[in-house]
Each structure stands twice: as structure tokens, then as C-alpha cells.
Symmetry: C2
Subunit: 128 residues, 2 copies
DNA sequence: CAGTCAAGACTACACGCGTAATCCAAAGGA
DNA sequence: TCCTTTGGATTACGCGTGTAGTCTTGACTG
């Protein structure tokens, strides 16, 4: 599975979210899923699906007279791309300033902090 | 100082970076600074400056026959906007998954980890 | 005073994106 | 068999962005 390296837009990512939760799906099901939480027109959603196809972010396999769609770009890959992009564009590629920023300017709940500590402990465990 | 809440584009942010390092500056100095690290045309840079003006992200004060430019949007504000946007768009608004993602998929140096630990210690200090 | 130059203002243009509408072909119903 | 329906393919269109080019006006030069 080669990494997919095409940027997908905000609206397109909403379509991907549906497929990341469940796939393969027919376009009708995707439309239905999205319309539960937004009022996008069916045509709009199909357009986005087609653009994702063009970008190679999803695949379509024929199923009778329609297609079933499934993601080729994984959620983790996409998250990596977006995170990396933020890191490079906004924080000069360094993780610590990003973290410092979050700690100083974003509200971290006690739970967040506890989770962070656990994560770091886990990382250090792995290291040694 | 009211927070500036207009999105600035990638290219525009390069111009802001110059002004965040030093301000106020005449456009000529901004052009010179940017051309040290890129080959953007002078006209391009001036266009970006003007768009930033239009967005209210910088201010221009007359200085004889030219303007001196200074940021109105601060770097920290911008970093917050961008971070928040990533957090919401990509990680459902929760910090821990973002961090988990970084810890699992991005390479964190030992130094990063040490800094993270220090940050968390500091946060917890502050809390109690 | 007329011409030139430089900084900023205005205009341009292609491409991606959000947001659809229209066109087409195959399948199913009358 | 012809019409309708339905999924998909193609086309549309305004806005932001990257990337400049042209126009204007005031200042300086001869």
C-alpha cells in the first residue's frame, strides 16, 4: 500500500470521515450519513466523492449498476499529513514549540494533562 | 487590542513572519528580507502585503512618501488559530489524540521528550 | 518645467474549492 | 418497446490564492 500523497480539502475530509468509520459504502449511504449532520446537497456530496476518486484517495468497485467506495488514504495518514503541515508551516517543524503553545494558550483539561503524562511515560518506556 | 480573526494564507504568513521578527518595516525591507530566502517577485510580495492590509492583519503608517508596516495579528494569535483549526478539523477538537498521534507517528527526539516532560511538570506545578 | 522613477493602487488570470445543475446511460416498470 | 428513474459523468460559477503586470501619482533630475 503506497502512501497516498494528495492533499484533500476540508469538505472532502468530511466525506472521508464517513468512509473511515465504515467501508465500503454505496454513494447513497454516504450521502445519507452526511446528511444526518449537515444539509449538503446530494449533488455536492457526489462531486466530492468524485474528486476524491480523481485524487486517488478512495477507490470505487463496481457493484451491479453502482459503485462501492472505500478509502485508500487512511485516517492516520491524513492526520500525519495535516499535523506535519501545521508543524512545518506554523511552528518551524519543531514539536516542542507546538506543545508549548498548547500548554500556554489552549486550555488543557486535567484529563488532557494526565493523558499526556501517560503518553510520555509510555514513550520513555519504549525508548529504554 | 481586539483579536484579529481573519484567516491568512500560507504565502501571506511568510510576509507576516518577517514582520513578526522586526517591525515596523518599509515594504522595500520586507521584500529584501523575503528575497533572501525565496525568489518571489517584488510585485508578488507587495500584493501579499496589500491583502494583509485589507484583512486587517497589518497596519500601515505613512512615513513620508511610503508606508511602514507592522503586524496587528500577533504570531501567537495566528498559531492559536492554526492549531485550533487543525485540532477541530482533524482531531475532533481533542488534544490528547493529537499528542498521541505525534507520539506514535512523528519522530520525537529525546530532547523533544525531555521538553515535553518539563512542560507537563510545569503545568502541573501551576495547577496546584 | 518636462521627463523619469519609484511606491503603491488597481487589474489579471489560472487553479482549487465549495456548491451545485445538467446531461447521459442503463435498468426497471407500464 | 418506450418512458421514467437513478446513479454517475460532465459542466458551471464565484471566491480565495499564487503569481504577477499595468496604471497612477508624487518626488526628484536635468
Amino acid at each position: 500500500m503506497p502512501p497516498i500523497n494528495v492533499p484533500i480539502s476540508e469538505a472532502e475530509s468530511r466525506v472521508m470521515e464517513v468512509l473511515w468509520q465504515q467501508a465500503p459504502l454505496a454513494s447513497e449511504q454516504i450521502v445519507a450519513a452526511i446528511q444526518q449532520h449537515s444539509d449538503w446537497h446530494e449533488k455536492t456530496i457526489r462531486t466530492l466523492l468524485n474528486r476524491l476518486l480523481g485524487k486517488g484517495a478512495v477507490e470505487a468497485t463496481r457493484d451491479g449498476r453502482r459503485y462501492l467506495y472505500a478509502p485508500l488514504l487512511s485516517r492516520a495518514q491524513w492526520q500525519s499529513q495535516e499535523s506535519h503541515s501545521l508543524l512545518d508551516r506554523v511552528f518551524g517543524g519543531r514539536v516542542a514549540p507546538l506543545l508549548a503553545h498548547f500548554s500556554q494558550h489552549e486550555k488543557l483539561s486535567a484529563k488532557d494533562i494526565a493523558e499526556l503524562r501517560k503518553l510520555i511515560d509510555a514513550i520513555e518506556q519504549k525508548e529504554r
